[in-house]
Symmetry: C2
Subunit: 187 residues, 2 copies
Amino acid sequence: MRYKAGLETRDRILASARSLIAERGLEGTTIKAICEQAGVLPGSFYNLFPSKEQAILTVVREAIDAVDPDPAHQGIDTLDELVDAYVRFLEEQPALSRVYIRIGVSGAGSSPELTGRMLRHHQGRVARFAAAMRRHSPELSEAMAERRAETLVLALNGIALHRVLDPGFDVGWHARALLDDAAAAVS
Amino acid sequence: MRYKAGLETRDRILASARSLIAERGLEGTTIKAICEQAGVLPGSFYNLFPSKEQAILTVVREAIDAVDPDPAHQGIDTLDELVDAYVRFLEEQPALSRVYIRIGVSGAGSSPELTGRMLRHHQGRVARFAAAMRRHSPELSEAMAERRAETLVLALNGIALHRVLDPGFDVGWHARALLDDAAAAVS
DNA sequence: CTCTAATTTGAATCAACGCTCAAAGAAAGT
DNA sequence: ACTTTCTTTGAGCGTTGATTCAAATTAGAG
């Protein structure tokens, strides 16, 4: 393989960027810090990425994509499964999930591109949750399901947001408690 | 009055800082931008604040204090009133409420002082919501009220978080929908 | 082994940041 | 009017940020 070393370096840089953005935020992350953690000098960074912004955008895309597993809806169809999948994402990929939450606030105002991407992603997520709700409770009107789904998704984001502040926060426990409340409300 | 001009300038600087932090975040806000918007030069800034950090901390304190009106619990005792008060804060003070949400993510990792302050504030808020719940439904166990209160507060923060991304988002409508769901779950 | 393409280096550039300070400029008190 | 106190000015300091590039180094292909 011809470009092996370069691609490995690229991965190392992306990993550093990921953890630094998770800890210090989009603007708090510097090229120097990324390079130090990756064991590389700034020159190498600019051989692999055209700019800091592009590198960050790559990590951001990773994060957004990682929120929704199985984009083709394979096997994840009930509300429980959707919530569990999100909880698993939060617990198994803490760095990426922190990045995801940070985009929502840091991206807004600074990058219209990011804001648009996040809003579209949110809409898709709500639609998926709403569909799961209607599959379980067909008597729900479309509007009602949409409303409840959005409330649930926003609440889950609130839980994820709090974990950025308190790393020891038990997201799984709270997410499931939230789901119980939602179930109680429907019945 | 002897220090009139200085205090007015101080207010103008704080107002600029407030709106800039709301739009661009803690680290995205520069002294130069603050001074430009306030119609003042950097020298004046440093006559009134010892550092950028102190000025920002002042705005942050404002924001945290503004979240909870009536700290002495006067007149705001039911869950509806607590939620309404928060909605009113979000709607009537959009800049401060954006600052509040931003602190949660930007402060974490960069400033332990801010993180601690936010966590303590959150705890107090949850306790207040839990007390209101138990006053309305005395059959609720303390643990259960606490859990439901925390879920509700986090969900409200999720709603506020989303409005940072989407300025047109109707926080009032969603907050009340959330409250209805919570009521349905209890009954 | 050799040659060439891929990769890393690290010093240097330029802009922007937070911050300082001596001097000039209002206002208030007498 | 005069003097003292408060207020603003704006050039300028040191530091750090992102970014560039010619030269040195490494490693795969023939």
